[in-house]
Symmetry: C3
Subunit: 344 residues, 3 copies
């Protein structure tokens, strides 16, 4: 289910519809009309809510929602109609798409600049002032937002969406059901230079970027093209905003990369990893599968063991921080003095 | 005073004009013509300078400025005409707008794509190749720069400016006197997913972004739309470049957020806070009013006490850093060995 | 050699051609036709590879490349034709440009919006939907990509390229052979405010940005205009993606700035420095020549000594990290307890 299939006109459902959509058991009146989703605290009559995180359980008793999606543990205490299922958060995720706004319209806007050689599948939508250069190939139901620039010989698979003002460089390949948010740039040159007696000599970046199926990429992220081989993003990868992936990075399937992460050149990240916000990965590393990296973490070596890793000093009142940092700068000396004392 | 009111032709003033503009007492010839502002060190005849930071006091004696804005403490030593006031830096801020360049022109450029349903106040300027979709509402004197994309049902208050190549997603609301710099994206989807047996299931982001009055947002920043409720930016908030504000973040009035800061989902920041460059705030935290966060700080817990907080190790020569980090990784062990020794 | 001179049709060379291009001694058949470059591991017949990093020496014996660029130390062991030179990496950098794809075409696209007053040198290329405002001056062979916005009175030197969707604010100056990648914004307002009883009063940013010759700037970077004086980028500087340079920053010649670096206002960086990914530099600092800053480093003081500097805690398993951080927050107390013990 992707955004372009959902129209505002579809967003009126009955509780019976919803029970079917999320495979829940309905306890209540199936003919009740629902026009939206909301949190337990803010839901009004005519809206459905959900309870997935026990932190919010205390809000259940007072909710004004017409129905709540929840699991067996919370069913008895619910004052409203119940949509009973085993994974309420997943049910909410599924249902959410039925209330999503979409304004894209099939067809090519008059103001778009589309090269004669562009090949399009059925149901393609190209927004105002988009630019598609020579040899671009678009699968069925692809949406290209206003102001996007899709350079020569780019290939985009079925049901993919570029939101407004996305830039794809030449020869970039996107799979099916890929969503790219505004401001993101895919396929710019990697940062490769040879040093010639103090001057930087640019190395042309001859690889491309290949992105798998079911990939989401947030706003203002950058994924550079490879130096010789391609930069590769696996299937089912999700990437947040302002992420920087350098040339020849490889991201394994179903890995999640949060906002402001930077991964330096040629590093390979495994499958089913998570990188929290602003984590940094040095170049030429290999991170295995199922590795979880904390916020702002400093990854300077390869990681072969699955598990959770972190960096940083935590937060301190600034005065205390200053005193501690002074000691930290001499920690090795301090330790050596300690060892001398310990041995006495 | 916003940029679009200022024209290059207005940038010739006399010292008498300036004294009036900044509420200063003039000691000197009010008919002297001024064509610009400059630092004490670089000012030439015909320019006004200012002394706000005592660090630059030594430059006063040799300045070639036609006049200097300063306070009583420095008046006696000034070799030029004096514009005497209590807050020279604020006076400089006020005066600076009279010398600002602006090229925006009221009216809709022929190349802009504006949906028939768009409603515009008086004095609106829409630049070349801008795109405004269905149902957009623009207040008086709004400027939309070249290449901007303003998606369906966006509302922008009076006297606001989008510089070139800004992207606003559907239903985003901007208050009055909001300035947004190029490359910034407001209203892209928040990073919300349910995990379904190792695969990420996207959650449609049904909230929007609501931005108050008198808000400045720098270049290439991203503010995501909320999952269910809105992401909210208060009045008088100032946001620098490359800032990432995730879904459902709430920023209190008059808070300042410096470049490269990232704030994760649902965190609430108080009023009159400052976040220095590249600080990171984890999700679901509550930061109170008057909290000041240092550069690159790692905020992993809520903060209720006003004050100044910091993180990081400071900078060391790399060899020393390596030795200290080795000890830091074993700091807890080291401490426990110390306690054993201390108890003996 | 810049991208726009290189056409796909030029990318068939003989080994004799290549020997001449990279000033190498050819050991092999000069008439062998070469159609591309590849790594030792992936090269096929008809491709040239290179050996610069000893890590890859073991791949030499099995390479299927038609020829390998290498130095005397590895010549004897090469099973293929040899292109012998003293700096194989530099030779690779030089050769790489002969295989680079370019689709830019001289001339102004019909859909571009170019003000009558714009002055252009010979061979200029302006892509679809680009916008050039009043008084812009373009040197010879300048390429302006699709969707770029070049505001009033910008000057761009010969042989410079703006890739798609670049934004230059008014009066910005670019030297010769400057390359700017997509999404980058140059000349937005610096983050300057005076605080007026708790409210932020914007300071108009009256300086500009001046960029030297032979500068490369990656994607989605931001370089702010100066408050009074200009922000200045020296000759031969290379800047990666998502870099933030605040107002009045000065970067010395031939300095390299990696992805996600942020430099706060008025800091001055010397010549031939390197800043690794996500390093942060506080405002008003002076960093001398030949200073090398590590990834995510926290630069809070000026640096006068050349050398290598670093910050951060390194990476730890999260459980261990938590225990160590608890101790780090009390490191100063710990040290003082130690001193007491040591003195006994």
């Amino acid at each position: 289910m992707t955004a372009h299939e959902l129209k505002p006109s579809q967003s009126i459902l009955t509780l019976a519809d919803i029970a079917k959509i999320v495979s829940a058991e309905l306890k209540g009146d199936g003919s009740t009309v629902v026009t939206g989703l909301a949190t337990l605290a803010n839901a009004e009559s005519g809206q459905v809510s959900f309870l997935a995180n026990p932190v919010y359980k205390h809000q259940l008793a007072d909710t004004r929602a017409s129905a709540v999606i929840l699991d067996e543990n919370n069913s008895a205490e619910c004052p409203t109609s119940v949509l009973l299922c085993t994974n309420p958060y997943l049910a909410y995720a599924t249902l959410s798409h039925y209330f999503e706004f979409s304004s894209s319209v099939a067809g090519v806007h008059d103001s778009a600049v589309v090269h004669d050689s562009v090949i399009m599948g059925e149901g393609v939508s190209i927004g105002p002032n988009a630019v598609l250069q020579q040899g671009v190939v678009l699968g069925a139901n692809v949406t290209i937002g206003p102001g996007c620039v899709v350079d020569s010989f780019v290939t985009i698979g079925d049901d993919s969406t570029l939101h407004s003002n996305v830039t794809l460089y030449h020869h970039v390949v996107l799979g099916m059901r890929v969503n790219v948010h505004s401001g993101t740039v895919i396929g710019a040159d990697g940062f490769g230079y040879a040093n010639d007696k103090g001057k930087w000599k640019k190395i042309a970046q001859l690889g491309s970027v290949v992105i798998g199926n079911d990939v989401d990429i947030g706003a203002s992220s950058t994924i550079d093209r490879g130096a010789l081989d391609d930069t590769v993003i696996g299937n089912g990868v999700i990437i947040d905003n302002q992420v920087q992936l350098a040339h020849n990075v490889v991201i394994g399937d179903h890995t999640a990369i949060a906002g402001c992460v930077g991964i330096a050149g040629s590093s390979v990240i495994g499958r089913n990893c998570t990188l929290a916000g602003a984590a940094g990965v040095a170049g030429h590393l290999v991170i295995g599968d199922d590795v979880h990296i904390g916020m702002q973490a400093q990854v300077t070596s390869s990681i072969s063991e699955p598990g959770s890793y972190a960096s940083g000093t935590g937060l301190m009142p600034t005065d205390l921080w200053r005193r501690n940092v002074v000691r930290l700068r001499r920690l090795n000396d301090f330790y050596r003095r300690f060892v001398v004392l310990e041995r006495r």
